[in-house]
């Protein structure tokens, strides 16, 4: 406590006893003050979270009905209609993104963990950290350039590519981390039985790290499920059903955005309902995985 001692001397005018009491009191008060401030920050941070979730429930629950989940949007001015096509479209786009992003991310993670103790591995590690920080809107521009401009029209595929690019870095790094946690002796046991290295990696190492890898995938999935910016000029949106990956497709976050900035009350109501559906999907996925991992349904050897 370097700055307590000089303080002590400066207060020399008072009698030693009173001086001491004063300092102890002041230090104790500071301690209490800072503790209360810390508690206050926690309250201030939890407040908006509570406010957002509460308001979302309040507005959303009243607006979700069967029509919302099964019908496509009605023209402006007509009541009713829903976001079924957007929910379906989101499923298509997210499916495409996972199809591209998950194998690529796991593959890159396996490379980094099993063969990546070299310069190239370091470069890939750094690259994936950089990629993780690239703003989603920029990824949208790139997906537009490489898919939309070649195809000459907006498509679900372009949206899927954009979201896949966003998934890869998270999956890569968590896969790597989880594989490195698997004890070396397990690999050696497999080698000792004459199991080839590729087989060991896939059936032993990756298998042992399954729960961690799945957590990584779900985190990446939760992150992209709510992404809107990269879909604005890739998937573009659509007022009708579309399951063709080469056509513009509606997506739930996109529809929420369009409805939110519109001037119509009916559309605002549906935006809240859509937001509730979206958050239930995301929080549900994250919580389910968290619980599953904690309670051992998926828990591996680590």
């Amino acid at each position: 406590m370097p700055d307590v001692l000089p303080e002590d001397r400066r207060q020399g005018l008072l009698s030693p006893k009173r001086n001491h009491d004063f300092i102890v009191l002041r230090r104790r008060l500071t301690d209490h003050l800072m503790t209360s401030l810390a508690v206050l920050t926690v309250v201030l941070v939890l407040l908006p979270l509570g406010a957002i979730l509460a308001y979302l429930l309040y507005r959303g629950v009243g607006s979700i009905n069967w029509a919302f989940l099964t019908q496509i949007p009605k023209p402006v001015g007509e009541a009713g209609g829903g976001m079924a096509n957007a929910i379906g479209g989101s499923a298509v786009i997210l499916g495409l993104a996972s199809l591209i992003g998950v194998p690529l991310g796991i593959g890159a993670g396996i490379y980094l963990a099993e063969y990546g103790a070299n310069r190239f591995g370091d470069i890939v590690r750094f690259t994936s950290d950089v990629l993780n920080g690239v703003p989603s809107i920029v990824i949208g521009i790139v997906a537009y350039s490489i898919v939309v401009l070649r195809q000459r029209h907006f498509s679900a595929l372009a949206g899927g590519v954009a979201l896949a690019i966003m998934m890869v870095p998270t999956i890569t790094r968590t896969t790597e981390e989880m594989l490195l946690l698997v004890p070396q002796s397990i690999r050696e046991a497999a080698y000792g039985l004459g199991v080839p290295r590729w087989r060991t990696t896939l059936s032993i190492t990756l298998r042992t790290a399954t729960s961690g890898v799945i957590t990584g995938i779900m985190l990446a999935f939760a992150r992209i499920a709510g992404e809107t910016a990269p879909l604005l000029f890739t998937a573009f949106g659509n007022s009708y059903w579309n399951f063709n990956v080469n056509q513009p497709t509606a997506a739930l976050p996109l529809q929420i955005f369009i409805y939110a900035i519109s001037p119509f009350d009916e559309w605002h109501r549906q935006a809240w309902a859509g937001a509730l559906v979206l958050i239930i999907l995301i929080v549900g996925a994250v919580t389910a995985v968290r619980l599953a991992v904690r309670h051992g349904t998926l828990a591996g050897a680590n």
């Binding site: 307590v4 920050t41 590690r125 920080g133 521009i141 976050p253 995301i282």
Partner: protein, 334 residues
């Protein structure tokens, strides 16, 4: 970080080819091993390839605008698609001001939460608290925007802005008509969004400060706060700075929530009540409607600038965090 050593090669290859064949199958096993290794290498190379592709596409597509305006692009205030005059300064200004505002608001809150979770709170509360802050990070940007439009903006308009202009109006930062929507709303919503990132990285950094630092401070008779200040915060300051800069990186690139509450007007105003525009939101709003090659190219150039700024900011932040956590990778935050 070391991968498994290929021990089987050295031990098994000492035998005759026939024995090796017996133990490991034929050489097709080796072929499979090589194939697998190269397949994984291709995946890893693809990560690198994607980043290079991003840089390449951005450079190529912004070429036109770069040649037309050069560096003037970044200092020009005029954004006029009709006359094909493009200056990005209002967007750069809006991005910087909204992000800085967000940092000022979120910094004390995020660090306070991190300190509380790691140093003060009872163990049973710790898990719940970190889960709750993670939850804040899992809410999609568009939902923050929705809440911003319908809850935050009216709150600001009716209560906060009149109060601010009465008490702090003389600074010139808080004057003009209280719309609710505007730079202030963008700053507040961004602050809420980056708190989880700053606080989770700070928590990580604080938790690697060696235990004996805390014990030493307590042994000298420090109160808890003095222990935190001298033993913990002082040792972790580089990492905390890194966490804050990581939050800045996220704020700079944040698109949807900001687009929905900032007002989208390309003007530079001193007052935080006035509407503004950010680099990310101009791309979001105008990209799909951009007519003309120069217009599109100008938007891509804004994207390019945003890309480089966020990369530099993120790299700096990671170096700072690593300097405290000593190379353990800062966990990817979703």
């Amino acid at each position: 970080m070391t991968g498994p050593q290929p021990i089987e090669d050295s031990t098994l290859r000492t035998g005759t080819p026939a024995r090796t064949g017996l133990l490991r199958g034929t050489s097709s096993g080796e072929l499979a091993d090589h194939t697998f290794r190269y397949a994984m290498l291709v995946c890893a190379a693809a990560v690198l390839g994607v980043l290079l592709l991003i840089v390449y596409e951005l450079l190529v597509r912004s070429n036109l605008s770069w040649h037309a305006f050069g560096l003037r692009f970044f200092v020009g205030e005029d954004w006029n698609p009709v006359e094909e005059q493009f200056g990005a300064l209002p967007f750069i200004y809006g991005t910087l001001v909204s992000s800085l505002l967000a940092l000022i608001i979120s910094m004390p809150l995020a660090i306070g939460v991190a300190v509380f979770t790691t140093e003060m709170c009872p163990t049973w509360l710790r898990g719940t608290l970190s889960f709750t802050t993670e939850l804040l990070a899992a809410i999609p940007s568009v939902i923050y925007g929705l809440w911003g439009i319908f809850v935050l903006a009216p709150l600001l308009r009716m209560y906060v802005q009149p109060f601010l202009s009465r008490t702090l109006g003389w600074t010139g930062l808080f004057e003009g008509a209280p719309y609710g929507i505007g730079m202030l709303a963008a700053g507040v919503i961004l602050a809420i969004m980056i708190i989880p990132i700053i606080s989770s990285i700070t928590r990580e950094v604080l938790s690697v400060v060696p235990r004996h630092q805390r014990e030493a401070a307590l042994a000298l008779g420090a109160t808890r706060w003095e222990m935190i200040r001298v033993g913990v915060l002082r040792n972790a300051r580089a990492g905390i700075l890194g966490a804050i800069i990581l939050g800045l990186g996220r704020a700079l690139g944040e698109t949807m929530a900001v687009t929905m509450v900032i007002g989208n007007r390309p003007e530079i105003a001193r007052s935080l009540f006035a509407p503004g525009y950010t680099m990310a939101s101009v791309i979001a709003n105008e990209f799909s409607e951009a007519t003309g090659d120069v217009y599109l190219s100008a938007l891509v150039e804004i994207g390019l600038a945003l890309f480089f700024v966020t990369i530099i900011v993120n790299a700096l932040a990671r170096l700072l965090v690593w300097s405290v956590t000593r190379g353990q990778p800062a966990r990817a935050h979703a």
